[in-house]
């Protein structure tokens, strides 16, 4: 780093001095008077003279705090309790964080947030850089504690409900963006050794409160959804294999806890971002996906799906389309596929479209279970479904078993049902089942579509697979999405589907028993 001579020593002296001032009784409220004195010291030593010096000062401080903390942790091996070690480390780390917060709050003019946010980003960038370097050089010896403490305490400092923060025009959203960007850079797939601390920060009550509850116009929601997706992407390859080692079970369980808090407190958030989440959650991760799909707006009263003679198509909500924050059309790749799709939907040309579809959905990978691009499949299904609903509505109708048939949209779905192999069809049916949620136009349309595919299937294999996809979502522990329940109940109750006459219902005694118990509970 070619630091100027003596900068390392100078910084060490200054940092020690600040920590002492911070802990002295004369520090004043929020360490204000200590800070006033210390800034003079910094000026005296020329630290604030240039941007570069400030950067070097912070970089050295962060490294020192980290070294001190790691050394205490390693010494702990011989004796003092973890609590003692932590409080010793935190005495220094918290003091340093307070200095950062005060410098951020007081840098530049009081009314101009730019300088403040720039400084914050600089410090967060340094923490990232030093941590990633630390991970690269120490591998499995990496200790997350100092970084965890610096990040969470800095966040708490800058989100204290103090009038001064509001008055100095430190816009909360910019602070959230800075932290979101930092946590994205340190996401579990990049820094697995930091994953537990990462989730601890992302699910901290103050962090969740700021991101999802307090920040107006839900400006924190898309940021938070990106962080959650980062977590799912890291877990995905491991969750694809059912056998989870303890470290993964711990992370998975922690993720479920966070999702339960979100399901309970912010169901609308899960509703609006469900699509992006399902795109990165492995298809075999059924309970976690059910948890997300079970969310429904708090002002909505869901009719009991087990009510006999429930007239779903009479519910007012089924004409309302759900809010979705993903522009599905952009996800249909390549652009040529999208172009052909639109033209086929409009006037059924090119006629080769249906037979070409499969090639667009397949990806070049001969690994088992990886022959298809799940994201393209999901986007195709939802996009075609939304176009179908729009077309039906334009005729002044609503989706029903009769209005969804005999359309280009249904041609596409029926073709996918027939033309794809078992793996492809599984992903296709999952893409539909992912839309079976709370009462809304998508749930209703796709529920009818699935039942229509069942009724019109020309081979029993398709009907069996539709049943399997629904069943595997039903036999896991709760919660179960409302749309899933009403679709399955309709399938086994409505005689027109002749559900009970199929061989696969009786393929094994326990399966038969299972169907009967489900039937009993809803008929």
């Amino acid at each position: 780093f070619q630091d100027p001579p003596a900068l390392q020593e100078k910084t060490e002296v200054l940092l020690r001095e600040w920590i002492q001032m911070y802990h002295s009784p004369t520090a004043g409220q929020g360490s204000a008077s200590a800070f006033q004195h210390f800034v003079k010291q910094m000026n005296l030593h020329g630290i604030l003279k240039t941007d570069d010096l400030i950067t070097r000062f912070f970089r050295i401080c962060i490294s020192m705090c980290r070294d001190l903390c790691v050394r205490s942790i390693l010494e702990q091996g011989q004796g003092p309790s973890p609590t003692y070690v932590r409080s010793k480390c935190f005495q220094n780390l918290d003091a340093f964080v307070r200095l950062i917060a005060l410098l951020v709050k007081h840098s530049g003019e009081a009314t101009n947030p730019t300088t403040k946010i720039n400084l914050l980003n600089k410090v967060l960038g340094l923490v990232c850089g030093i941590m990633i370097h630390d991970i690269e050089s120490n591998g499995t010896e990496f200790q997350q504690l100092p970084y965890h403490r610096i990040l969470i305490m800095l966040f708490l400092e800058l989100n204290a409900p103090e009038a001064i923060l509001e008055s100095i025009n430190l816009p909360v959203c910019e602070v959230l963006m800075a932290f979101t960007q930092t946590l994205h850079l340190l996401r579990p797939s990049k820094c697995p050794g930091f994953a537990y601390a990462w989730l601890e920060i992302v699910s901290h009550r103050v962090f969740i409160g700021r991101m999802l509850a307090i920040t107006p116009q839900q400006k924190g929601w898309s940021m938070y959804s990106m962080l959650l997706a980062d977590l799912f992407k890291f877990l995905a390859p491991f969750l694809r294999n059912a056998e989870l080692a303890k470290p993964l079970t711990m992370l998975y369980k922690g993720t479920l806890r966070v999702l339960l808090v979100l399901l309970h407190d912010f169901p609308e958030f899960l509703c609006e971002y469900h699509y992006g989440f399902c795109d990165v959650i492995p298809p075999n991760c059924i309970q976690m996906r059910n948890l997300i799909l079970s969310a429904f707006p708090r002002n909505m009263r869901l009719p009991d799906p087990f009510t006999p003679n429930l007239k779903v198509d009479m519910l007012p909500e089924i004409t309302v389309s759900p809010k979705i924050h993903t522009s599905v059309a952009n996800l249909i790749q390549p652009p040529e596929f999208k172009k052909n799709l639109d033209s086929y939907l409009k006037n059924r040309t090119p006629v080769t479209f249906l037979s070409d579809m499969r090639t667009y959905l397949q990806q070049v990978s001969n690994e088992p279970g990886m022959h298809y691009n799940m994201s393209v499949m999901n986007s195709l299904v939802l996009y075609v479904g939304m176009q179908a609903i729009a077309q039906i509505n334009s005729k002044g109708l609503t989706p029903s078993m009769s209005t969804i048939a005999h359309s280009a949209h249904m041609d596409i779905f029926q073709n996918l049902g027939v033309d794809l192999d078992t793996e492809g069809r599984y992903l296709f049916l999952n893409a539909i089942a992912n839309q079976l949620r709370y009462p809304n136009s998508h749930t209703h349309y796709f529920s009818c579509t699935l039942l229509h595919l069942f009724a019109e299937a020309n081979t029993e294999a398709i009907q069996e697979q539709i049943t399997r996809v629904l069943l595997e979502r039903l036999i896991v522990n709760r919660p179960h999405p409302w749309g899933l329940l009403i679709t399955f109940i309709e399938l086994i109750k409505n005689p027109s589907f002749k559900f009970w006459s199929h061989e696969f219902v009786k393929c094994a005694p326990e399966i038969e028993k299972l169907f009967e118990s489900v039937a009993r509970s809803c008929m």
Binding site: Q29, L156, A160, P161, E162, Y196, L199, E200, S203, H204, R205, I208, G209, L212, A213, M250, K253, G254, T255, L256, R257, V258, L260, V261, H264, D265, I286, Q287, L291, I475, V476, N477, R478, P479
Partner: protein
Amino acid sequence: LGSDLTTLGLNLNSPENLYPNFAGPWAETPCRPQDIDYHVPQEYLTN
């Protein structure tokens, strides 16, 4: 299949929001009042 999510230590029937007392992804129990940092009047910080 899957796990009984009611055993993860969260009171899913609570009429109040859970996140203010959420003790973190690894905690089996929610926070107690003495675990939660609170912005009390400055005068209360007597130590």
